[in-house]
Symmetry: C2
Subunit: 352 residues, 2 copies
């Protein structure tokens, strides 16, 4: 079957996803899956729709050389919702910037796509924490899926591991390191670099933004905790409720003292079921070598599931050499979501 | 729907599985799943079949007090194949002792069950390395499944993680610590215990047999490597081809010297694709703190997948407190296999 795609948001991640689909087209074909991209919406480089399929390489080239893609369009389109409607797509990939407060405009894009009978797949944490139940129910009513594997561990399987491979397990807690930027900063400070220089390094390699607040004050980690709690523990939670503490209060002196004692500061994310409630937190904690978090240095991240069925089960993603992998990894989560959605792995989209 | 079960082999793992089904019966019911056990075959306590369902608690009690279950049978049965046939089961759980050389009699039990239209689920590594392709093809032809999640990491999801949550990923290598017993021995030797005393400890807590050859010479690890290669890399392999080196050559002096250098000996399992071939090994290796294996102490085990899509992805199972969890964990893998099989997660049983 040939699937039509709409890309809403065409930044680093979405473009890496387009390239990944091209790279994997032979193995997709072996599974009976062909594709074309019928709609693209960009932040700064215009909109394009062609029901017969856009020239993907040309679109990548135009955007990456700073030009508009409007010339590729055979239909007049002026905004993302029009692209969704006129693309007649089977799957919509939502990759607009995260809005922690409201989840918009991603929430509206996903609603529109699901209402039109498309699978809605996103790397955007906003609609997960602000619309998980509504969007999952809407998807189910349309026989489609709302999937978001790339929202927590950069495209590596996390949600699908718990939802597809731990049937009927009870989840007591999750704990881990979810934000790579702060882990890089703390790792570099342990090697003697100042906080300011470590932040500058992260900005220079593109893992921190000009305003690093979202990372260093714990908001990126908090929205990931909120997403995990909302989806895997069935308790709606916002990042504001997680109320994170970031790493600005951790001084070089504190880190040196910890190191001398064989310990490390980590920005620890955790959520634990206590009765019907969930206690969630994001805060710097001292860990020693007995903790699975101790060995996660630099861009390494990971999560530990505590359940009623097996000993603590941790997923650890190793350091990314050179930090260039980010968008490519995230793209794989979106790709995997699409393949699972069309394979009908519906269990993964059930509200627990 | 009500599913009928046959338990072929009724040792620690199978009995833990029976108890797990009883413990989870409410959450199974919520998914529309009810069950009864219509056949049980034991090694030393006889055979029983009742098409209307055996009294599970009574069977557990009889076996655990050293009595025969034959009194529970309403049908004359004298061996495992008769139990399979006369149980009219929907799922057969094969948990007879592992036979590394031939995979028998488990192989025959699984063939019989699949031919009768049952799902065949096992914690037995023998039939995986000696019959994976045949049994998977047979299962497919019958619209049933051959599943074996419990064969590598003690019931924690490994096969299903790669097969269900990494669609179309290319697997370059697997590496890890797959045998808990040798890891406990090496950990205890690092704390100054002699090899002989460490082996005795493992025997006293039931993790090593009277003849520890299977663990300490690397055969248990080798058959796990062979199973992973056979299933996930699509290259049939036997433990003999892995040709393991065990830990008997590692002396207390070597371990002390390594410790002084910040290193540890681990019984490292690995398999790497090299062209169309796979190079596999099990052998003691020195690892330092930069290795994800370094922190796995005592009964902790784990595996790292290297793929084309995300950074190295490790699954780590923490130490089992008190070592009492073994059969219960393994039982969960069998339980998860059953739930996934009846949910129709067929992707997991496809030959890659």
């Amino acid at each position: 079957m040939r699937y039509k795609f709409a890309f809403i948001g065409f930044g680093n991640v979405a473009r890496a996803l387009a390239r990944l689909f091209l790279r994997k087209q032979d193995s997709l074909k072996a599974q009976g899956i062909a594709f074309s991209v019928t709609g693209i919406s960009t932040g700064k480089h215009g909109f394009a729709v062609n029901p017969d399929g856009l020239d993907i390489l040309k679109a990548l080239e135009l955007v990456e050389s700073g030009q508009s893609i409007a010339s590729l369009s055979v239909v007049p389109v002026v905004n993302s919702l029009e692209v969704i409607q006129k693309s007649a797509a089977d799957a919509m990939f939502e990759n607009t910037p995260v809005n922690t407060q409201s989840g918009q405009p991603a929430l509206d894009h996903i609603r529109a796509a699901l209402n039109l009978g498309m699978h809605a797949i996103t790397a955007n944490k906003g609609p997960v924490v602000h619309g998980y139940r509504e969007l999952t129910a809407l998807a189910k009513s349309k026989g489609r899926q709302f999937r978001f594997e790339s929202t927590v561990l950069g495209g590596a399987p996390v949600f699908s591991v718990f939802r597809q491979t731990f049937p009927l397990a009870e989840l007591f807690s999750v704990k881990g390191i979810f934000n790579a930027t702060t882990n890089i900063i703390l790792s570099r400070m342990e090697n003697g670099e100042s906080y300011e220089d470590a932040v500058k390094y992260c900005q220079s390699v593109g893992v921190a933004e000009a305003d690093p607040t979202n990372d260093v004050d714990g908001w990126d980690a908090a929205i990931k905790v909120a997403a995990l709690v909302t989806v895997l523990m069935g308790v709606p939670m916002t990042p504001q409720q997680v109320n994170p503490t970031g790493i600005r209060g951790i001084t070089s002196e504190m880190i040196a003292k910890a190191k001398a004692e064989g310990k490390r500061y980590k920005l620890v994310c955790s959520a634990e079921k206590v009765g019907d409630k969930v206690e969630a937190s994001v805060a710097p904690q001292l860990v020693d070598s007995s903790s699975p978090l101790y060995g996660m240095m630099n861009s390494s991240t990971g999560i530990t599931f505590r359940t009623d069925v097996v000993p603590d089960y941790s997923i650890v993603l190793s350091e990314r050499p050179g930090m260039q992998g980010g968008p490519v990894e995230t793209a794989y989560g979106l790709f995997a979501d699409f393949v699972s959605a069309v394979n009908g792995d519906f269990s993964a989209s059930e509200v627990r």
